[in-house]
Subunit: 349 residues, 2 copies
């Protein structure tokens, strides 16, 4: 199915709901209030302004236009095309004008898929990341924009992205949602535990705040994207084997995921600007994502947790994906299997 | 329109969505995790058990059955009819049996409107309170149950309910939602303030946590209900004039509301058991409700804030209401009007 069938895209991409959400101020306020997120983009222009000066930039999904304003002022770009499909674009043009940037920044209301720019660009910027990096699959729109509008030697920001996974405890979550039913004001409601596990844990908890002491092993990178070269087909099914060495005893309630992105420039030696949404960094509006198993596993420092994570893009609802986490807990010394786990998580359908 | 037209009730009361919500564990976990709420009912049975012993009780909207269990064990009721319309009732019967209360407690799945009990009851218990006390209008179901099932000299818990109002500051809310647009990473987004006020303040903020120092005057009681005598018609339109004496200087951003309920027994001298959701009490899952004006008013200790609050039940969507707050700020000394205000808040349609 190609994007030329735009009514199909509208339905399977749930575009009406998607763009309606981004047409309100609430989401934009949340994103703008996220300082680590927004300041990372500003910092990229600060660090690499020598390479963005007088260049032509495309901002895909510009929202209120903040990244385009960084490009024009901090980055000293000659021209910025700021593309936005949601109704917020109505405001973006006046925000740009109010800040004296109407000459440099051209706001174009519409979908990247349908837009034709008058020229190819030197730099594409976009904040496209969602839960598990990929949810909403705005990355497809960015790839499309890259293939259509970026000069061969052009740069795309972020330049790269990584997705991480770590086994973890989540005792307070497990207590509050499952164990609490054992004793409810002195009564035994434990027969509700099974339904509670289904209702509260069948999807990932997308806004979990993972503390360092809840990590049971060093995180591993399960996905690495080079934004200059990644193809849409690469994102249909992603498999990654993992092998964690447990570093502390505890209940393994599930697995926690987060991502990072990096901004670099091929003509510059400056160290990469990194935006990480991990537990060791300042909290962002993405938090971390917690995949709770139905039953906690007991692990100790002589254990390994090995297995595979699979991300399968939803073939019908194109903004969604399924995450499968499966594997076993082994005794390091003899690889004897202690426990197994296998769970399928819809994100979100 | 009468309830005999049940398909009309289903639509205008949005019963499918309403009961579907209460069929999941999430809401029940929230309510059970609210200790002040749940323990108030338990305490009522503790304080008045001499008067509930061997009595017949009706629990309207019993949910997981916790109040019925208090009635049977703490209250030593002879019989409890536990009525629940949502799917949670499937679990309630097994919870009752698991706790050895199957003889005392009879779980009846269905709507109070359609149920016929084998006998009239001595005591009705129900936790029906919503935002602004009345939202969801479960109180109508309770009144119906009272008129249909309660003995003439029967008791209803809560016995009474009060709704309070106080003028307040809400600087952090105003800053985060409105003033923040003035300076967004150095850019002027103030043209979005008007839209922000509309989007964020046109409805009440139902989960506000009011601090004592944000109260600009002593709260006033704007509604007092005697649950033995209140009629459904009394709730169609409620008007209350108010007159606040400002006790501190500050920006008056809006008005904050909360409620309390009381449990008493006509045959007992024991002091009333009170559940308050006000700012001076332990937080409950109701929090307080904040009605933000479009523009803050400036007030000082020589001012009065007088006016009227009106609650109008929605004639089409029967679970909803509209709140109108209007009035003026006056100089106490000469009643000179300084500013006026008038705002209509949908709760929620
Ligand atoms: Ca995003
Ligand atoms: Ca309630």
């Amino acid at each position: 199915v190609s994007f030329s069938d735009s009514s199909f895209k509208q339905i399977s991409w749930q575009d009406c709901d998607y763009f309606e959400n981004y047409g309100t101020l609430k989401l934009h306020l949340e994103m703008l209030s996220d300082k680590p997120r927004t300041e990372a983009y500003k910092k990229a222009f600060e660090v690499y302004c020598r390479h963005t000066k007088d260049k032509v930039v495309l901002d895909i999904g510009c929202g209120t236009g903040i990244l385009s304003m960084f490009a024009a002022t901090v980055g000293q770009a000659a021209k910025v095309y700021a593309v936005e499909a949601s109704d917020i674009a109505h405001y973006t043009k006046s925000l740009v004008d109010k800040n004296g940037l109407g000459e440099q920044i051209t706001v174009i209301e519409g979908e990247m898929e349908n837009i034709v720019l008058p020229e190819k660009v030197d730099l594409i910027i976009s904040e496209w990341m969602g839960t598990m990096l990929l949810f909403e699959f705005m990355i497809e729109t960015v790839i499309l924009g890259r293939d259509k509008c970026l000069k061969e030697d052009g740069v795309i920001w972020p330049s790269e992205a990584q997705l991480y996974l770590a086994p973890c405890s989540a005792q307070s979550v497990y207590q509050a949602k499952v164990k609490a039913w054992d004793n409810v004001y002195g009564y035994d409601f434990s027969s509700l535990r099974e339904e509670a596990v289904k209702e509260f844990f069948y999807k990932p908890i997308y806004n979990h705040n993972l503390s360092d002491e809840d990590c049971l092993a060093e995180e591993t990178c399960i996905l690495q994207l080079n934004m200059k070269h990644v193809q849409i087909q690469d994102l249909e099914k992603i498999d990654k084997d993992f092998s964690f060495l447990v570093k502390k005893s505890g209940p393994l309630h599930g697995f926690c995921s987060w991502f990072s992105v990096g901004f670099s420039h091929p003509d510059s030696d400056s160290p990469m600007v990194v935006l990480s949404t991990g537990p060791k960094h300042s909290q962002t509006h993405w938090h971390q994502h917690l995949f709770m198993l139905d039953e906690p596993l007991s692990v100790a420092p002589d254990n390994e947790v090995t297995g595979r994570i699979t991300l399968i893009r939803n073939t019908e609802w194109r903004r969604h994906l399924t995450v499968i986490i499966q594997g076993q807990v082994l005794k390091s010394v003899n690889k004897e299997r202690i426990q197994s786990f296998h769970k399928v998580f819809p994100l979100w359908m």
